[in-house]
């Protein structure tokens, strides 16, 4: 893995794509489907992205953040899209984007560290599984097409496992020590003092490498890079992109806006870069958990529970928001503070993957989320 990664990191992008060539050079591709997972590290505020302005309790609960959706695309009678998500809104209009709201992984605590572990491993609790659901997904694909790539210097947990995965990092992403950081996380999991400190340290680091950098141009470049690595017939079929900067404890209005501008530019660049292959592509955007319904004392929000996820792509049956909306009235909140989770992120992801690749949902769910007994795959997503 080391040599390969070094080659990938030092070589030109063309060389990186060509690495996949020898195995499949003249083989007919059994599937043209591409899948991209954009992880939002830091707990993205679903209520500020797919904004429930139609909920009667919304304005009262959100205070200074209540006007955040002004000028955004009205999705339905309840939800309006954040105005910075212009490209994403166009996809919604073309029925190529859908949003799942009030969804959550099985994790119910509020640690980034553990929450991301659950989101990526697909386990029931933190550190319950050692490999990631995206790596296990490779086993469901035709051997020749099970080519996955992390747009990162090191392989994130979701992509780790028995299947070999490549990585490629544009220079503006955090350096190779990210792998070390992940392993340190494992080392500290049983140490109350170091676990807490380390979580703070990672959260701080996340803030410094966020999507908002350079007015979203970095994010667009990363999206374009992913598309270039995936567009060729012999390119990667599965890719994962890490985004940070979602932990908006203060000054959320400006920060979340900048984050979403970056995310929107990234999505737009992936779509443009993939050209005709967009029809065969599905992009999943998800975060480890949501944020508090109420605004805190520093015009931000704190760690919460349910959030929103996005599904984008030429084959997505979009133009809708999927939610068993729990409402924002105080009595409806989870533990009196968070958006109550009514949808299962595991089931949403499994359903999306099954529909996209034409697989049996009943086979996908236990492979991706083997401990998720309660979840039912959501049908009809693509």
């Amino acid at each position: 893995m080391m040599d390969r990664r070094n080659l990938l990191r030092t070589g030109a992008i063309g060389a990186a794509a060509a690495l996949f060539a020898p195995r499949i050079a003249f083989a007919a591709a059994p599937t043209d489907k591409r899948f991209v997972f954009i992880i939002q590290r830091g707990a993205a505020d679903g209520l500020g992205i797919v904004v429930p302005v139609g909920d009667p309790a919304f304005a009262g609960q959100r205070g200074v953040l209540a006007d955040i959706a002004e000028g955004g695309l009205k999705l339905d009678s309840t939800f309006t899209l954040h105005p910075m998500l212009a490209e994403t809104g166009k996809l919604y209009g073309a029925k190529q984007a859908l949003f799942a709201h009030a969804v959550a992984s099985p994790y119910r605590e509020r640690s980034h560290f553990d929450g991301q572990n659950v989101l990526e491993s697909g386990g029931k609790g933190p550190y319950a599984l050692k490999d990631g659901w995206l790596n296990r997904m490779l086993a469901l694909l035709p051997e020749a097409d099970a080519r996955a790539l992390a747009i990162a210097a090191a392989i994130p947990l979701a992509l780790r496992g028995t299947r070999e995965v490549a990585s490629y990092a544009p220079s503006n992403l955090p350096d190779a020590s990210d792998d070390l950081l992940q392993r340190v996380s494992m080392l500290y999991q049983g140490d109350a003092q170091l676990h807490g400190l380390w979580e703070q340290a990672l959260a701080t680091r996340t803030l410094t490498g966020d999507l908002a950098a350079d007015n979203g141009r970095n994010a667009a470049a990363t999206g374009a890079l992913a598309a270039r690595l995936m567009a060729p017939a012999n390119g990667a079929r599965i890719a994962m992109i890490e985004t940070g900067g979602w932990d908006t404890h203060s000054g959320q209005k400006a920060r979340l806006g900048a984050q979403l501008r970056g995310l929107d530019a990234m999505i737009g660049a992936i779509r443009t870069g993939l050209g005709a292959e967009w029809a065969n592509t599905m992009v999943l955007v998800a975060t480890e958990f949501g944020r508090t319904v109420a605004v805190n004392g520093t015009n931000g929000t704190d760690h919460g529970t349910a959030s929103a996820a996005m599904l984008l792509g030429g084959g997505v049956k979009g133009g809708r928001v999927i939610a068993d909306w729990p409402g924002l009235a105080q009595a409806s909140l989870y533990e009196g503070r968070d958006l109550r989770p009514t949808g299962d992120l595991d089931g949403f992801i499994a359903g999306a993957v099954a529909a996209h690749f034409g697989l049996e949902p009943a086979r996908v769910l236990p492979t991706l989320f083997p401990q998720s007994t309660a979840a039912q795959p959501v049908e009809g997503l693509a």
């Binding site: 380390w198 340290a201 701080t204």
Partner: protein
């Protein structure tokens, strides 16, 4: 941790790669009291006091020349005097960096790590801070010539050496303190100039070096002690009035013309006029005072038995101190003999200095790259000899166990491990460092590392390695 791991990690500076484990942990510690070398090669080769004092004196000379020049002519940025002053400043900073490297290399190589740790303990107890240029230049010599030779002696002797050292006299402004009724004081008053006492050092000796804060002394005692101390100054390098004192640059000097005449009363005891000997007599009294015994016992106990050390251990050390009149080896033996210091669970979170030294020893480094080590340890969050306060660096976890500090250690470990030339596998090393104290999580994490270097980095930041 077993006794061997405790002796090496908590009492010592961490095991060196490839070093044989001591057969009897206590005997190994006590034996070091007989084997300690106060001037090992790195220290013997470090810049001496004369060199530092010469550079500092030269710095002040060029600065004065520059100021004269400015008064006479229009300010000129490219003045040769300004250049010379900058060069002198660089030279002094360089002496500081070389001295830090000498300290670190001695700590890496030593086979008496328990005593070496005690040197660091006392150096921090009698803290100076290298924020002022002369203190930066003299900081190394302060530890090498005032602490090291006395670490196995009597507390009173170390106290005397420390308070006479130019770094301390300059740091806490004693060098400029003048008795109002001394010859220099009355002469200055006659010219309408205000010259007088500076209580800084006298106060910190009582509060930090000996009795401890709120132990019964009052402002009158501090002032009286400050009067007794007048005349204790430094030759050649001081600024202001002390500059005009002749003498070997950087050497302790008693200037009788600064000394406040008269008998002093401190803590109810009377100290007759005797020039230099007056303050020395006060120090001797403070050195064996029961409050001092209590203060030192508490700090030592905290350093070895946890941030909130058992009262029984403090009592044992206090008794040993009082019984022996402040004979330090007697106190150290009481410490090694006390079961309270041998708790199996790690009781201390390593400071950045301790972490860096133990990491260097673990990978078997022969030396830190000269010039680099001061910056390296500063980046980790603890600039050597620069605590910024005469109270020294805190000796509790709350001051060091911060999220940014941990991230810096992880980053440093990554770089460090990438450069280390390891003969030993990180898995073997982990087992030899911690014995049965190695957790399964750490063992597995190291074993599953993607490369030997990464395994080593994980070892260096493991929970076991972060504490002692």
């Amino acid at each position: 941790m077993d006794a061997t791991a405790i002796a090496r990690n908590r009492f010592g500076l961490g095991a060196r790669a490839g070093e044989a484990a001591p057969r009897d942990a206590k005997a190994w510690l006590l034996d070091q009291l007989a084997r300690f070398d106060s001037r090992p090669a790195p220290i013997a080769n470090a810049p001496g006091r004369a060199e530092a004092a010469g550079e500092i004196a030269e710095f002040y000379r060029t600065r004065r020349a520059e100021r004269r020049e400015r008064r006479m002519e229009a300010a000129d940025d490219a003045s040769p005097q300004m250049e010379a002053r900058r060069a002198e400043r660089r030279d002094v900073r360089d002496i500081y960096a070389q001295s830090v490297a000498a300290r670190a290399n001695a700590a890496l190589a030593t086979d008496t790590p328990f005593v070496e740790r005690l040197v660091h303990f006392w150096s921090n107890h009698f803290a100076i801070s290298a924020d002022k240029l002369p203190v930066a230049g003299l900081a190394g010599d302060f530890e090498f010539s005032a602490i090291r030779p006395h670490v196995l002696g009597r507390f009173a002797d170390m106290l005397g050496a420390v308070e006479r050292h130019p770094a301390m006299l300059v740091f806490l402004d004693q060098a400029q303190s003048i008795g109002p009724n001394s010859r220099a004081g009355t002469r200055a008053a006659g010219r309408g100039r205000k010259r007088g006492l500076n209580e800084n050092l006298a106060r910190e000796i009582m509060e930090l070096h000996t009795l401890g804060v709120r132990t019964g002394y009052g402002q009158a005692d501090v002032t009286e002690f400050a009067r007794a101390m007048t005349g204790w100054t430094v030759g050649g390098i001081g600024r202001g009035v002390a500059r005009r004192i002749d003498g070997e640059p950087g050497a302790f000097l008693f200037a009788p013309q600064f000394h406040e005449p008269g008998t002093r009363t401190i803590l109810g005891k009377s100290f007759a006029q005797g020039g230099e000997a007056q303050a020395q007599a006060v120090l001797a009294m403070l050195a064996t005072h029961p409050a001092t015994a209590r203060h030192i016992a508490t700090k030592l106990a905290r350093h070895f038995a946890g941030d909130a050390p058992p009262a029984t251990l403090v009592a044992k050390l206090e008794a040993a101190f009082l019984r022996s009149g402040g004979d330090l080896p007697t106190v150290y033996r009481a410490l090694v003999d006390a079961p309270e210091a041998w708790a199996a669970e790690p009781v201390k979170f390593k400071t950045p200095w301790e972490w860096a030294v133990s990491a260097g020893r673990a990978v078997g480094a022969e030396s830190f790259p000269a010039g680099n080590v001061a910056g390296f340890i500063t980046q980790l969050g603890q600039a050597v000899w620069r605590p910024g306060s005469p109270a020294g660096f805190d000796d509790i976890a709350a001051s060091w166990a911060g999220s940014d500090a941990i991230m810096r250690r992880v980053e440093a470990a990554g770089r460090f491990a990438g450069r280390a030339r390891m003969e030993q596998d990180a898995r073997t090393l982990a087992a030899s460092l911690f014995g049965d104290g190695l957790s399964e999580t750490t063992g597995t994490g190291i074993a599953r590392a993607e490369s030997p270097a990464q395994g080593l980095a994980l070892l260096l930041v493991s929970p076991e390695f972060m504490r002692r």
